[in-house]
Symmetry: C2
Subunit: 317 residues, 2 copies
């Protein structure tokens, strides 16, 4: 909480670890981070591969840092990196303008089996970064599969990046992701023709009009951006600030945060339940025996499961 | 077990029900169905929409019934029907040649949230059909998403249906489904040109050669079929019989069945654990209170989850 980056890194490592002593340590740390009282802003940035997430984040960070009170934590998650192996390093290299900055903390987060890369562990990493004094948290994720559900459960504002095309570039973007976007940035407009940029903008705007509103007090905006020329980057940041103000005024901001904590709690209950059950001495001593009886057809899978669970769950008083 | 179709239908309805008294009744019935001692053959039939699953199943059933000892249960599952609403009825209508047969029991199964439609409930329905004296069980599923994992956990033989095309029809079929196929039937060859049929056959055969073997004792075969002319239907059935013989001889058949029971057991343990936990009086009385404390930031989600689970899990002795 004194802003020690090495301590923060270590804490996130404990969160990410699958070792149960590390997990306990992580939760002890997180417990002591409650009510840090800081007003943070959590931004999710998503978009298809190649839509320029890393470069936009880098330029956006430089814009955010124009206010000297801001300190930024960037959690980059790229599930494709598990396969290609190179992307996280690539991201780091691309974000080299930020690497030297003391006001920016960059951390690639493990996606560990969660589609799209945002997991309860990412949520915990956000809490740690906030406790360490970072008031702007940026979570980068690839908009695939069910990631939209996960990212929506831990950030305040979601920015969707779209490459300019001939109008049908939205086909590659799932409806579910459009629905949770609080803003859209059309990226790399310097590389596209004026006509294609206009077509993309029109397509995004009409798509947003067709979808149900995420927040009654907010209408998502489409911004034309270029990380190279800097076009639109200030507009993106101002839009995020305006969003935070509007939602705070209406009470939606706080309500949303509570809902997210509730979801995190539910996920933790499920995790803890499984952990406590499978590490329980009764389970350990009976599981193999019961499974064998089931395989030999001398006990049904249902009776076996019931008997096993009954041994571990406390009888109702 | 006396072969009463109405009793069987009711038992499957109990299995499918989400009511917990129905579930208990279903498990009591299933418990008494253990060790029915019959040698059954479970066949999974999968393929993209439009590949002719229903018509092939109908013609295959007529072929199987040439042996008067055979009684067939067909569990058809079509997740798309949830949306379109008409497909299950469509299937039933298409299978009208079987509808009057006393030797065939046809049942559309609910997909209830499981991708591709095969769920632990389908596995239970299979067990019930076997207890009722059906020795050939056919499970129809659409080859999408993760259905291949589910279907592979409950049948002995998987037949993949492929429409003849110009050789790239395999692109729409996921590698995971090719990998679990024990046989491929190219369907509707009467409607395609000789050239396209040959191209498809060659594509399937070379794809099978590239993939790792599922069973060391078995090499999947590609059969050309037409439900209209009847071409290849006997070959498909003979191939399934040959498969069963080879796998029984090598012990693989029995080993596979044991593995499937083990998986069903594990799935049941997880289900039972959640059910016992969330219906526990302690959980019911404490969940809302703990969640509220978490939302108010007076307790962390981790400590909250731990405290709640500790109340319900028996302390290790």
């Amino acid at each position: 909480m004194q802003g020690n980056r090495i301590a923060l890194s270590r804490a996130i490592t404990f969160v990410e670890s699958t070792r149960s002593d590390h997990q306990e340590l992580a939760h002890t740390i997180l417990d002591s981070c409650l009510e840090t009282g800081r007003q943070s802003l959590r931004i999710g940035i998503t978009g298809p591969p190649g839509s320029g997430k890393s470069t936009l984040i880098e330029t956006l960070c430089l814009e955010i840092l124009k206010n000297p009170n801001n300190r930024i934590a960037v959690l980059t998650i790229d599930p494709s990196s598990e396969r290609s192996g190179g992307s996280i390093l690539g991201d780091k290299a691309r974000m080299e303008k930020l690497a030297g900055s003391k006001e920016v903390f960059i951390r690639p987060s493990p996606s560990s089996g969660y589609l799209g890369g945002t997991s309860p562990k990412t949520h915990q990493a956000i809490l740690l970064c906030e406790a360490a004094g970072y008031n702007v948290i940026i979570v980068e994720t690839v908009g695939v599969g069910q990631s939209e559900i996960f990212i929506d459960s831990m950030v305040d504002y979601i920015l969707l990046l779209v490459l300019p095309g001939s109008g049908d570039e939205l086909q590659g973007i799932k409806r579910g992701i459009m629905e949770i976007a609080d803003g859209i940035a059309i990226t790399k407009v310097d590389e596209a023709t004026e006509k294609n940029v206009s077509l993309s903008q029109a397509a995004c705007e009409s798509a947003l009009k067709l979808l149900p509103k995420k927040h009654t007090v907010w209408t998502p905006h489409v911004t034309l951006t270029s990380a190279i020329t800097g076009r639109g980057i200030d507009a993106v940041w101002n839009n995020i600030l305006e969003f935070a103000e509007k939602l705070r005024e209406s009470g939606t901001f706080e309500k949303n945060r509570k809902k997210q904590l509730h979801q995190l709690f539910c996920a933790q209950v499920d995790l803890q339940l499984k952990k406590s059950f499978y590490s329980h001495p009764e389970t350990k001593s009976l599981f193999a025996k019961t499974a064998a009886a089931v395989e030999e057809n001398s006990m049904s899978p249902f009776t076996g499961a019931k008997k096993l669970v009954e041994k571990v769950i406390r009888s109702p008083r």
